[in-house]
Amino acid sequence: MSALTGMRSRVRFPDFIGILGAWWDRRRWYGRWTVYLLTIIGAFLLPAPAIGSFMTPEADWPSVLFYPIGIYVLLAIGLNVVVGQAGLLDLGYVAFFAIGAYTLAVFTTKHGWNFWAVLPAGIIICAAAGLILGTPTLRLRGDYLAIVTLGFGEIIRITANNLDYTGGPRGISPIPHPPSDRSFEIFGVTPLRYGVIDAKPYYYLLLVIIIVVIIIVKRLEKSRVGRSWSAIREDEDAAELMGVPTFRFKIGAFIIGAAIGGSAGVVFASQTTSITPVNFPFILSALILCAVVLGGSGNLLGVILGAFLIAWLPERFRGFEEYRVLTFGAALVIMMIIRPEGLLPSRQRRAELAEGTGGMGALGGEAGPVADQRVEADDDLVSGHLPEVLAGRDDREGGA
């Protein structure tokens, strides 16, 4: 986005995020840690019935908190590493979710493993799957990568459907729950009692995983790895020239994203006790991508918000019944028109955009799309629009 238009569009929206960000920057370490701690405590208190009666009057709130909300959040955080940070468009992210879920189902039902043993195994297997998929395909750019990942997602689902080993269309059930400790009780909750009725223990388990993942992802983002990802996202060729081993870092992003998706799959399968290939449709990949972009690709907080909204709104508005998807589709279009950069865009990204060095549009690192055509430059080119046209040159990475 060019300097000119960037400023123009920011005038229209009060810069709450900038103000909030500036406030955040002024906090000392104890201030920040207080906020972190309060957030975590809040997250643990979230399944309370009082909150649930407002959030989802027509469904069991702790269950909804676990799936779809918690699972979507974890998946979105994972996909954000791939799409938001490294700029690789992945349309088949559900594949890793499926692999994680099937790993748990197969190892617990056929080999008698325990949940805690499968969790790391599932993560490793998904990371390996990411490596296997990434090695041949990550040399592709942009939308070629998109269609190949889409195909990979479909291949995984169809293969699971066709193989007898994975139960074919019947899937695998019943999947055992993690080993429980029924006696451990705190504040009237039994957080280690993994049964079918109470979803809270699963929510807490998922919450712990999400917190760990956030810490890891955040550390990575601030490290040399994160900077390399930004460089690749903004301009892959330039990054390569500056000595960033782009292929290795792209594979790295893919593997980390896959591992996070896999962990979500493992926990999901243990809670739902029965999985079939139908659980892993292409549309789930699209929804998670929507969550990432809607929230603000590249910004962890935004991505979490996006996933929460995508998961929660349909549950909240069950009354709409058959108009749900219709409204959802329209809302996506409107949201993108009003805030194409997402609800909570990454501040770093905004800064980059304001400098006019490209940004979100550089997806896949290909030479950019068309410049945005704010300029009616048909025949009256000379009549005073020249500066904007020139500014448009910076837009090559940022067009529609």
Partner: protein
Amino acid sequence: MRRAYSRGLVAAAAASALLLSACGGGDDNGGSSGSSGSSGGGSATIGFMGAQTGPNAQLGINISNGVELALQQHNAKSGVTQVKLIKYDTQGDPTQATNQAKKAITDKVVAIVGPAFSGESKTADPIFEEAGIPNVSPSATAVSLAQNGWKFWHRVLANDDVQGPGDADFIAKTLNAKTAAVIDDQSEYGKGLADAVRKQLATDGVKVAVNDSINPDASSFSSTVNKVKPANPDVVFFGGYYSAAGKLVKQLKDGGVQGTFMSGDGTLDAQFINGGGAAANGALLSCTCSSATGSSDPAVQKFATDYKAKFNVDPATYSAEGFDATNAILQAIDAGKTDPSDINDFVSKIDFKGVSKQIKFDANGELANDLLFITEVKDGKLAFLGDTTQAKPSA
């Protein structure tokens, strides 16, 4: 498992009328999750669980209509426990079903009609089992559901293991087929049914010349047609649902395949004829349910008339099963049972003539009934031929 309005609404109504005297105001909130509130002869809440929105919503709506009709007729009678209904929309999605099942427990429903589909039954039934809430499915036919030792689970229609072998025997004996092609739609239901047919055909000495699986959402089934055509089978059996079946039968006939097209209850719907057009004529469709068109039973006809009067459409797939499943629960409530486990005990021992069939469960919650009925498509209409021993296809 469809359109099965055989005799017995009157019997059911009569039975409940007799029993309700025993009920009176005996609604004592017994048990942890008993009914609450009171009006007239007391009140109770039951749930329906199944798709009300989403791609398979029509089947769920057919059932919930049957449930609503049964409730309306029940509550209209004086002095009975007023029974309220809460609908739990799963969209046919197994993961939503778990959320909704837990919601049903918090709502303290005393019994559930549903879950409608096999997939959601697998995720929701363990929850009902643990919570001790009786559930009667009007439409889930997966064989494996009965093999979990669930005490609170029942279904008012026979499973796919009755239908598949019955279809194969019919193909071998009545149709005298020597070769067959068996195609499925890769769904849990379709593949289960087709596999059962494949197995029994081999036992019956019919050569299964072609096995194939289609993607029901695809437009073109040309590769399947190209496999079937050179084999020239006497019968083409399809395990799957009506929309894919309609497309498939048309492309098979257009491609020059001559054999008789046969399919199961998932295809027994007017939509199959709509999709297949003229190519659907002569197709044979099996079902573990009887049919209203073949029934002269006044009770079944009354059900069909009442249904039409209330919803302005004819009863469709599983409507009668939804009606029967609800009545099984209502009879228990009318017998004064208010606690879910008491209702479950009553329902487990129930024996009455529903509009779809005789409703009586075995120890696993399966129906004690294994008749298979055949319907033929004639001149663009569904013509009921009777059970497999009587059915005489015209072709």
